[in-house]
Symmetry: D2
């Protein structure tokens, strides 16, 4: 009954097998190898256009470096108040950008809105040196709240960004979960909707450390290898990140993993709702946020359920909870089984 996080699991079998297979051979270091080359090509196929791809070791640095590529002195990056880059990366984005400011944008369910972005942009008007300069907006797909931007919503955020000539970054730590949920194409969910650069995460969905910065804005990608190297993220045996991606992308393995994780989340949500449990935010990816009282929470943990309290920061939602109630985050993954869900629901009781 492990619903703690999708990063508690290891690599899925096809990924480990690919890693092991490539381990038998020697090959040039620092990404000058055939696997890196073929996987890079694979990314262009998946996105139906030329892309610039850079492998790194963590999602945090993928985000931070993607934003650093657009940094300028006094730079302002707009993002959701609760986004990972704003609250969970220990200022890695600020550091890699030599002091960019992250401007928190409010928004329901982890999503910013075009109107919210436009209002926030007003605090950094053009050509006023004191206020710095707007450089990028970052959205998370799927969000920290397990919700998803529709293709149309992304396009509208892009329009607001373009009106101020700032770049659109997508934090895709759970890219696959969002993609299969929308049932759209990688191209439609990214560059066709205006995304300039994407943090393409695979670690949570079946790899052990495989993240890619994918540029659709090829001009911005120029010189990016120096950003990565300066950050200490050019692995000497970089081909093993590529190898993980090879196993991950082959035979739609990544999509299958994500579909499974999302299905488990739905199964869990339906089971809870059938018991009258309220869940916060729509279940659109692989996260479920049920409300329960502390006694129940303690009982479930005692029964072996790995679940954690989630800090609710939306006042409207918080106000609906009684003093005794908590919001719990439950994350499903490629490794979650129907039995896990059933056992949890059983442990929940009536």
């Amino acid at each position: 009954m492990n619903f703690a996080s999708d990063n508690w699991f290891g690599a899925s079998q096809p990924v480990m097998e690919t890693l092991a297979r490539h381990n038998l051979k020697a090959a040039p270091a620092y990404g000058a190898d055939a696997v890196t080359e073929s996987v890079t090509q694979r990314f262009s196929d998946i996105f139906e256009r030329e892309v610039s791809v850079f492998f790194v070791g963590t999602g945090s640095v993928a985000n931070a470096l993607a934003l650093a590529a657009y940094a300028r002195p006094g730079g302002a990056v707009f993002c959701h108040r609760e986004s990972h880059i704003n609250v969970d990366e220990c200022n890695c984005p600020e550091f890699m950008s030599s002091g960019s400011k992250l401007i928190p944008v409010p928004g329901h369910g982890g999503k910013i809105t075009p109107a919210g972005l436009r209002e926030a942009l007003e605090s950094v008007p053009p050509n006023i040196v004191h206020h710095g300069q707007a450089v990028a907006v970052s959205i998370t797909q799927a969000t920290e709240s397990g919700t998803i931007y529709s293709v149309d919503e992304i396009a509208k955020i892009k329009a607001a960004a373009s009106a101020r000539s700032i770049a659109l970054h997508m934090d895709g730590a759970r890219f696959a979960n969002a993609l299969v949920s929308l049932n759209t194409s990688p191209a439609d969910m990214t560059w066709k909707s205006g995304v300039d650069v994407l943090s393409f995460g695979a670690t949570k969905n079946g790899c052990w450390c495989a993240e890619a910065v994918v540029f659709f804005d090829l001009e911005a990608a120029r010189g990016f290898e120096y950003h990565r190297k300066r950050a200490g993220h050019l692995f000497s045996k970089s081909r093993f990140i590529a190898a993980q991606f090879e196993g991950y992308l082959e035979n739609d393995h990544w999509l299958k993993n994500a579909r499974h994780a999302n299905e488990m989340a739905l199964l869990l949500a339906e089971g809870l709702r059938a018991k009258g449990v309220r869940t916060v935010w729509p279940v659109e990816a692989n996260e479920v946020f049920p409300i329960m009282d502390r006694q129940r929470f303690t009982k479930l943990q005692a029964a072996g359920a790995m679940i954690y309290e989630w800090p609710l920061r939306e006042d409207a939602i918080q106000s609906e909870l009684s003093a005794d109630e908590l919001c719990i985050r439950m994350v499903t993954s490629f490794a979650t089984t129907v039995e896990d869900v059933a056992r949890f629901l059983d442990a929940y009781g009536e």
Copy 2:
């Protein structure tokens, strides 16, 4: 006949097996797991004292963050002119330290001397704000030239460093190779000789990405987890770095790998010398630097030998070469076989 670099090979079998074994289980993210805990304890055992250990993904960032822990504004770090941190890390040390200056110290065979360090330190005297402030000296063990500092040499460099109250960092990308070559203990080669912080590399000697920053100076380690996280080097599935170390350190596997690599280097060097080939610098670890003419070099490459020219930057050595001669770097590893060496010597001809 792959003598290109020790980072062209994958992980050795015990390391891959440990990785695969731990992959079957789920465990807490970000290093809060049992494997990380036990491997951390193992480091204390190996060094015969309490140490603070932090796993990261690359040797470059291990060096840069170790030095960042000692950074101060206007900081000066002293290192060999040819050291990896000075010429091969794309300013990662300078960046992570927010603008430290690396002061190149000359020295024969990749090694700095206490006298050279003292002279270099004179350019950054105490309490003169214009010149900045000396903060650390970094030595590489084994060096880029395949040579090794004796325990006594390390202690003397420490004495010069202590006279100015600066820290001593050891870049141990090839720590194991140096250790078995000296036939000493990890403790003697580090903290007992005055090393404050060590970049403990395992990637080149049998892992695919396993590097550790090991602090003997426990005070300097305080808050270091924030340095690592801010640099984007806290892996969510950090336990797989720990797992690599587990396989690496078990049953003296790391020492065996290093001994083998060193032996292959000696075998190669002896074979070459028997043919009258001069080698630059003593062969003390897993690198051999033979001198050959360009025709021979081209012929060997054509025969399948993966070898590369090495830029000689010591004038005294360079002046002994004829116009047609090159210095070649040959690196052996745990995966190098006696047959590789024999085939190379055979291909070399008379």
Copy 3:
């Protein structure tokens, strides 16, 4: 009728005279001169204890470097949402701290409250590496809204800061205006209330470029000269900043200037109120924020009044304005005359 800003005026006569007097002599560069020494001593007298004083050229860098002295990786600095460091310094604080995050704290009239600070601190709990680490809180005295923290309010903010072991910084760009308004001592308004480091501004109140970073926390001041020099703020002829301070501090000149500016603000506010004009926030220093309609605003500007619109960011206040009404910022200074005020009131009409 110049109410644009207190930084539109030059230096007051005693300051210029002191500058001119010292200009006749040669003296050691970089602050190793007798004027710097005597003025430094003067600061200790004024604050009734030993202080560490560092002269710099701008208030922005005084703030940024004061905070940099407390910076740690992933550092979070808490400040009012509308504070100068947060909205008007083009990320200078973030840059000088190598990526600190400024956490905006809401609060009426430009002032944060102990409760607001405590709530904001909850978002950066101790020992959770993902969220970074709280390092300092910064308050502005007088605030951007022309209001003032009482000595008791400062002490309570200090208590909230101390509960989390973070430093208390005071941005005193208008320190003198606040001081005479409170009719307290420099010691009471700073270290006796818990201030660790102060940006002591003199530029707005009679100098042309004279700012000092004053440390009461002498331990934090150690090595600060390297921060200043690295930022390019150690002036070779630093003694002329000291000279400005000499003229500024002599014969209570600074207090007289500030008293005058504050009196002009009160005179202006009373005159406006007598005409039925509402003013936003209490007039406690040298700023008045009247509400007027656009037509009146345009007419006044046409009549030669230098006044500007001020963006209101407090919803409660904004909601009381009609669609046609604006909030105007009017700043008085040592150079403002009774006639300026009278002429403005006259131009205002009925």
Copy 4:
């Protein structure tokens, strides 16, 4: 007998008078005033073309920000080993560029040569990410050794720089001294010889704090105001830097000051040579470096001569000194008098 440094003196009379005159008026802050505008235009006149001019407070930050405008990750800046940016600015250039590396280039008399530059550039070849990327070369005019690059020498360094597409920066802390020495035009000594950006210093030659970053490369100047502001170097009363420049540039005051300083240096050098004193490096600007024994040095200091020892770092020169001999730096300025020189020569004795 003050030959300590040209930064020990105050502002010259015309500069102080202009400062005092402008002090009587109020004007917009942050450089949006008429004086700033007219002085900016004056720079274009002086350089016979459109330039982008930014006023800052110190020469260190002028250099650091000029170089920051060309910074890229892993950036390498080439400069003379003894240059001010390399040894006297406490890593300000490295810090403002977020970790650029300054590559010391050797050269006689404080000057780098095209051949020396080309050789140094080889250590940072194009497109090798490990070594970083060459971004700029910086020359000092006049140099720290009191020597001067001819227009032809500058053009040849530019050619070496252009071959690698890197920018040419000139540190003109003593720009006027060099200009009158060469008897050429500002245009010829800068952009016509290939200079892209200039630190135009006025502090040493008659101002108290007036430095300008002058871009001939207008594209590189775009967004530079954000660099300056982020560094805390946009003065609120920036017009007083402009005012100093107004007085400095009017009626060829700056050139007269520099001519006088240079003449005093020549007078001093000739007087010393007449006594048989050797001087190191040709006296081309306002610095003289005589060799004398320690007894003489002590005697002169006792007699009131403000002179200091200068660390000789050229081995060829050092080797010509006897164990008892020192190299002394003597700097003349606009304020040095014929009597000062005569008195010194008299004190020197036979």
